[in-house]
């Protein structure tokens, strides 16, 4: 079950300094994962946790989050990701492509080496 496009606040807004909070989700081919664009914060938490729920429940051994267009992830967003990764059975993982530095920083602070998360070096 995958909806083609979801945003928290209508259509994706341009990434300007006064952009409305948004997080756009586009599926990757063959259900490999999703591409996200925008920011993860209080207003977009529900979209983010839906994506993570799909990553866990979809059953794939590797679920890709393409994050090159995500500018910011807050601490609760990182926490939701870590919680999702911990729910994966051994061997399964969430693969983060090009995560924003805020996300890498918080993961490194609180969950270094979490087995369910893979960050390939570009």
């Amino acid at each position: 079950m995958q909806s083609p496009e979801r945003t928290a606040a209508g259509a994706p807004a341009p990434a300007s300094a006064t952009a409305a909070p948004h997080l756009a989700v586009r599926p990757l081919p063959e259900g490999r994962g999703v591409t996200l664009a925008g920011e993860v914060g209080l207003a977009t938490r529900a979209v983010w946790t839906d994506v993570l729920a799909e990553a866990v429940e979809g059953g794939r051994s590797a679920y890709v989050l393409e994050l090159s267009e995500v500018a910011f992830v807050d601490v609760a967003g990182a926490e939701a990701l870590a919680a999702a990764a911990r729910r994966l059975e051994t061997g399964r993982r969430i693969v983060l492509h090009d995560p924003p530095r805020t996300l890498s920083r918080v993961l490194e602070m609180y969950w270094p080496g979490l087995p369910g998360i893979e960050v390939p070096t570009p």
């Binding site: 300094a17 409305a20 209080l42 910011f72 807050d74 601490v75 926490e79 920083r105 602070m109």
Partner: protein
Amino acid sequence: MSTVTEPFVHPALFYANTDEYLAGCVPFVREGLERGEPVAVAVPSYNLELIEAGLGEDAARVRFLDMQQAGRNPGRIIPGVLRAFADSHPDAGRVRLIGEPIWSGRSETEYPACAQHEALINHAFTGRAVSILCPYDTGRLDERSLADAYVTHPVVIDGAGRHSDSPAYDPDGLVARYNQPLPAAPGGIRLAYDYDAGTLPTARHRSVAEAAQLGLAGERLDDFALIVAELTTNSVVHGGGRGTVRLWSEEGRLVCEVRDAGHLTDPLAGRRPAGRDQIGGRGLLTVNLLADLVRTHTGGYGTTIRVYLAL
């Protein structure tokens, strides 16, 4: 007659010179090593060298931390230094530390946070088999710092090694005494922005843009984005739904102030390390771990938090 003995031991050590420092610190460390206790020393770098030299070969069995780095933000010391070490030895019968958070270079802006930190150690470790010795340089610290050490430590050890109970011991009173309105911001406010749930991202974008203008860059700019996000999101979720963020520079530091209608009633908020499986409780903790200094004024009238980052 039976008495319940508090297992947490938290004496201040008053020293006037190097000999008194070593006479107080080195036997404290050695006693721990002899009993098989994990021992850490977190003091300013110039004192680290003294203790290390004084211990000789035994120094290899001690964890050393430069308190001027690891503890430059006093709010970081409990979660990031003291409990980080104590909690990493859950099977130890007792864990022993030397923590020197107050040195003569601490500024007037930093000091109230230092004193509150010393007071809150008592709450943070109540009931735990931990010993923390806190050295105070009587030759260089002012009278207020030394008087406050009697308020924040149940026992004070003098330069001759004599232990005495402190009749002034009153950590809660000290936390309240330093919970004062923060001094007026200097001129040159760069940003004053009222936010609510709908404008949280804008509050962060504008704060980060101003911080970049003032010269904050690289990873520290990302750290600042996280700090602003946590403080402003707290306002929306716990602090009345809205708040005001202000930003300026002061004595080579970026200052970001967040004010809202919330009341921080938990004195250890942001000072408990987060367990790996814990959900929540990382907002103020993240602010404390990343900032160079955090000052707080809180009450029924609202909360003001100022975060300082070196430029």
